[in-house]
């Protein structure tokens, strides 16, 4: 239980810092006139939201889903297809996205959870690929070129076509999700999930309907990813099959692990570090000599790859997890 004590010691410090930084970012961006930072901030929060959704089953339930980009795509395509037909009400977008995603997640989850271990990873991947090719086959909605979004979601007075509004809506959704997630994993439901993670056979022997709980967790995590997809579509004004590509699912896993498995705030840290690194390597430049910047801009993915390998090899609890451990003084 030493872990848990260390987490509680820094329980408020790091999250408070992250929340304050995110809340004040648009103010700083407008003050300095660099509104592009606000766009980066929105992207960070959208991917943090998706990663937080995945974290529910990955970090707390130890179910490695390699197909969560699928729900990102469901969210994005709900906005795109509805606005293609002239529907701009955000409530309708949201309701449609959540309804479709619930139905899909329920069926897919029920099938996938029959498999365990490696087979679970593969079958979730297979379902995501299925939807990816389905989206490519939707010639009426752009096929593999994707679909431009002309009308963005409008929630009553809140119009997501305004960048600052979108930022704070994403912020609010992310915060609400994180708080809900925190409550959930410390409630009986979360304890049960973590119990299954530690020893499934024991939980079964104790008489819990394990699969049913895992299915509920799977559907909940899919719904959070769908919300992220809806916000992503509003941010990029575009829905594309590439949102559902397998490497997006892989990236979400990386975000969760990078931040720290099984911590509520970890996905936010992971998404922040990942996207800031990506932007630093691709857009801003490091001031390297001999055209090093241009070279880096071209081959930045390789460096991110090296970083991922290094994190996987050397950090067992991710960036945030390692930070907390080190502060607690008992790094393992």
């Amino acid at each position: 239980m030493a872990d848990h004590d260390n987490y509680t010691r820094t329980r408020w410090l790091a999250p408070a810092f992250v929340v304050a930084a995110l809340a004040l970012l648009p103010v700083a961006a407008h003050w300095t006139g660099q509104t592009y930072y606000q766009v980066i901030g929105t992207r960070i929060m959208v991917f943090a939201l998706a990663a937080a959704g995945l974290n529910l089953i990955l970090g707390f339930g130890a179910l490695v889903s390699m197909g969560h980009a699928l729900y990102l795509g469901v969210g994005a395509y709900s906005v795109a297809i509805l606005s293609h037909y002239g529907v701009s009400s955000g409530w309708i977008h949201l309701a449609t996205a959540l309804a479709i995603s619930t139905a899909c997640a329920f069926v897919i989850g029920a099938v996938c959870l029959r498999a365990t271990g490696v087979a679970f990873i593969m079958i979730t991947l297979a379902f995501a690929q299925m939807f990816y090719f389905l989206a490519i086959g939707l010639r009426a909605f752009g096929g593999d070129e994707g679909l431009q979004i002309s009308l963005r979601s409008r929630f009553g007075p809140l119009d997501l076509s305004d960048a600052t509004t979108l930022y704070y809506v994403a912020f609010a959704v992310l915060m609400l999700t994180l708080v809900a997630m925190h409550r959930l994993v410390h409630a009986r439901f979360g304890l049960l999930l973590r119990g299954v993670k530690n020893n499934e056979r024991r939980m079964r022997a104790l008489g819990f309907p394990v699969r049913r709980y895992q299915l509920v967790a799977y559907v909940l995590s899919a719904l959070v990813c769908t919300m992220a997809g809806l916000l992503l579509a509003n941010l990029t004004r575009f829905a594309s099959p590439s949102y559902m590509a397998w490497n997006v699912s892989g990236e979400l896993i990386v975000l969760v692990i990078l931040g720290g498995l099984g911590t509520v705030i970890g996905p936010v840290v992971g998404a922040g570090v990942w996207i800031v690194l990506e932007e630093t390597l691709t857009s801003f430049g490091l001031g390297l000599p001999n055209d090093g910047d241009a070279w880096m801009r071209e081959h930045w993915l390789g460096f991110l790859g090296l970083l991922i390998v290094w994190v996987a090899l050397s950090m067992r609890s991710g960036l945030y997890g390692s930070l907390v451990r080190r502060r607690g003084g008992t790094e393992r």
Binding site: A62, A115, A119, Q129, G137, G250, I253, I308, A312
Partner: protein, 306 residues
């Protein structure tokens, strides 16, 4: 739908299946024996294709290019195993998925830096460019060669795994690794051997695929997904399962892409068929895998763990 077209597509499917088998044989053993998820296996296939293309450009000899691809990927596989993979055997699947997806990015970038972004094409020697006429329809000689080599290597693998001491140890490792280790066998060395051999097979598959598909960065990723479908359908750790599943997946995928659109065209209006046909054709293998897993969660040929 003429019979010649159907036969051609069947052979195309067989040829894809053979390539998929070469790729999945190594990976299924890595998964089965070491319980290791290696997403970078497709990248080794890509490296094989690039080694072959580069060597063919220098030597103009296809045989030398294929041997070079085998040697290159064997060495690369052994190096990767030593530096990265062997450190992850004891970790959970999550770290393995993460590290190997990082390796995919690294290898893709290595290829871009060394050989550039644009696709490479590899020609064929004069003798292989011809078409062969079999029972009234024509089929490229090279594709026949691919099928033959693939089936030969499959037979060789069968003999190696079922008739030799090394093969016995590999099978024993697949069903109970700690026990094999306890009996005094250096399981670490077997792991390294299997991983390197799997990499070599992937390299050969890459070399054989190079003249058929274009050689470009990221070519390993799409094929990796198909290979994973094969492995899971066949049963993780079973080379026999991988063989049958590879042929099934190859044929179903090829035939499905060709037949479904025209089949739907006869049932529905042409506009519906045009929209749904290609999509349905490309999700067919995933649908098949989902059905197989829903009915038999351990695949068609499950390995018995003792």
């Amino acid at each position: 739908m003429t019979w010649a077209l159907l036969a051609t597509q069947l052979l195309n499917g067989l040829q894809l299946g053979v390539l998929l088998f070469l790729l999945s044989a190594g990976l299924t053993l890595v998964l089965g024996i070491m319980n290791f998820v290696n997403l970078a296996h497709g990248s080794l296939y890509m490296m094989g294709a690039y080694f072959a293309a580069a060597l063919y450009g220098r030597t103009e000899s296809f045989l030398l290019a294929a041997i070079g691809a085998l040697a290159g990927t064997l060495a690369l596989g052994a190096t990767l195993e030593r530096l990265v993979i062997s450190k992850l055997y004891q970790r959970d699947h999550l770290d393995q998925v993460m590290a190997t997806s990082g390796l995919i990015l690294v290898l893709n970038e290595v290829v871009r830096i060394v050989w550039g972004v644009s696709p490479m094409f590899i020609g064929l020697p004069e003798a292989l460019r011809k078409t062969v006429t079999v029972m009234g329809f024509q089929y490229p000689a090279y594709r026949f060669l691919v099928i033959a080599v693939g089936l030969l290597m499959g037979a060789g693998l069968y003999l190696l795994i079922h008739r030799t001491v090394v093969g016995m140890l590999i099978r024993a490792g697949a069903s109970n690794a700690p026990m094999v280790s306890a009996l005094g066998v250096n399981i670490g060395r077997i792991n390294a051997l299997v991983f390197a051999a799997g990499a070599g097979l992937a390299g050969v598959a890459g070399a054989m695929a190079a003249p058929i598909f274009s050689v470009q960065p990221g070519m390993g990723e799409s094929v990796l997904i198909q290979v994973l479908v094969v492995i899971v359908t066949g049963g993780v750790g079973s080379v026999r399962g991988a063989f049958y599943a590879a042929l099934i997946v190859g044929v179903v995928d090829t035939i499905g892409r060709v037949l479904l659109p025209s089949l739907l065209g006869q049932l529905f209006e042409s506009s519906v068929a045009q929209a749904a046909g290609p999509a349905l054709g490309s999700i067919l293998i995933y649908l098949m895998m989902a059905v197989v897993l829903a009915v038999r969660p351990k695949g068609l040929f499950p390995v018995k763990h003792g």
